[in-house]
């Protein structure tokens, strides 16, 4: 049985109530806006890139607990990483949230593993991945709004 606590673990609640890196970056080198029209979630991701590395990352926006916590955890996870490391981390993250309950979790995901419960709630996968899609767009320096439907 899917347990409420699997989806809303303390870490997730903590990150959604007190999101880390929740700010703008003045003079950001890259920025992208993600929007999920279905639920009205909206996130803006700011990056300061330095020689292909994510020197600083922050976000602002409004959304559900899952998308907010995911954005917050993401910023912590990719700060200091190279672009390609961040992209690979997104791949593994995507695999986890679209996987089956009970699948082994890639140890390199670290704290992001708290979002593994999302895979039991397929309709929430988009909430968890919206920040990552937005980060990807910012890394690729796409200008348009990412829209997930």
């Amino acid at each position: 049985m899917a347990d409420l606590r699997e989806l809303y673990q303390d870490t997730i609640l903590d990150h959604s109530k007190k999101p880390r890196n929740f700010r703008e970056i003045p003079g950001a080198t890259a920025k992208a806006v993600g929007h999920n029209p279905l639920c009205g979630d909206r996130v803006t991701v700011y990056l300061r890139l330095d020689a292909g590395n994510i020197a600083d990352i922050a976000f602002i926006g409004q959304g559900c607990a899952i998308s907010k916590a995911s954005a917050s955890l993401m910023t912590d996870a990719v700060k200091g990483k190279s672009k390609s490391e961040a992209t690979r981390l997104f791949e593994r993250f995507r695999k986890m949230v679209t996987g089956r309950p009970g699948d082994p979790i890639d140890a390199s995901l670290g704290k992001l593993a708290v979002l593994s419960g999302v895979c039991e709630f397929p309709v929430r996968v988009k909430c968890a991945s919206l920040p990552w899609h937005t980060l990807e767009a910012a890394l690729e320096a796409k200008q348009e709004t990412v829209s997930l439907e």
Partner: protein, 421 residues
Amino acid sequence: MARKDRMAKPAKMLLNVPAIQADFPILKRTVRDKRLVYLDSAATSQKPKQVIEATSDYYSRYNANVHRAIYELGEESTREYEGAREKVADFIHAKAASEIAFTKSTTESINVIAYGYGLKGKIQKGDEILGTVMEHHSNHVPWHFVKDHKGAVLKYVDVADDGTLKMEQYDDLLTRHTKIVTVTLCSNVLGTINPVKEIAKRAHEVGALCVVDAAQAAPHMPVDVQSLDADFLAFSGHKMLGPTGIGVLYGKAELLEETEPLLGGGEMIREVHLGWAKWNDVPYKFEGGTPNIAGAIGLGVAVDYLTKLGMDAVRAHEMEVTQYALEKFDRLKGVTTYGPKDVKRRAGVVSFTIEGAHPHDIASILDVEGICIRSGHHCAQPLMERFDLPATARASFYIYNDLDDVDALIAGIKRVQEVFA
């Protein structure tokens, strides 16, 4: 716990809810090991076994195309299909069954009106179409087409903070340029029941037509197209115990005559030649192609079911459940409900928000408790913008819901508040 073991509420219910619940096979199932508490009938209703059996009966006993077959089976299917049309006509008090065309949905019905009467028909550049801010997207977007292709001007009556239409503004916007007024009889977000009879009367005074979206009204309250003096009216079978994929377009006979069909093909023609065709009579000219025969028959049985309960009793029951829910909601701290407070002015649709909890999280947590509600913009983005809300949670009630379901909802909301405390 099985439903019949549970104690009945002391309150007098106007419908025999346990007997009704027994007719709905889906209510016997569990969701995530919990009793199913279905509070999303505004999106689509559940189906009683009578409707399910009627559609499967059609396929297993007399499946044949309608209006064409010379043999017995085809006569039976045509009789049942046309019988359903008559039941629907009676249900909304149309003058004749020929004023009822079957479509696939409210959405299709409104598109037929916008296209066939507006875009291809009477509407000229500069003509005004007057809608409201509380419409469902399906009563917005088809009119955008008329604006884009014909140069019609779209205007909208705003919604007051209490969820009712600003009727003084309606009077101001209504002019001799207004050709169509289009309004929902009942809002799918606020539950507001609009004074459509008055709206139609004033529209007629300036020579405009009144188009009525009855998607949320036909399932829940008596609808009388003659008393409303509606010119066109649309609703969907799936929200009123019927199958998906069947909808109704009502139009006054002379207006249906003036409306061009949307779908060309079989069924809708009298004669076809190379390069031109003569159309069939109303309402068949709107039913191009093989129709949803099982859907129409199922809808006919749904209408029988509702008629047997009595639409007055259905409405009274929902008022009682809604009143109980609003009182319970009122006592919750940090929870806001939207729409009129007076149940006489609203239907059993309750949109709400909880401080500190996003509607998606509310819906997920309730889901774990076996409670199905809606979250999001409810296909009414202009209305959400009006109230500056990215999303709301929405519970909606129907004949199979009782006060226990409301209690379950309220307990679920408290659980949400605990999680996000």
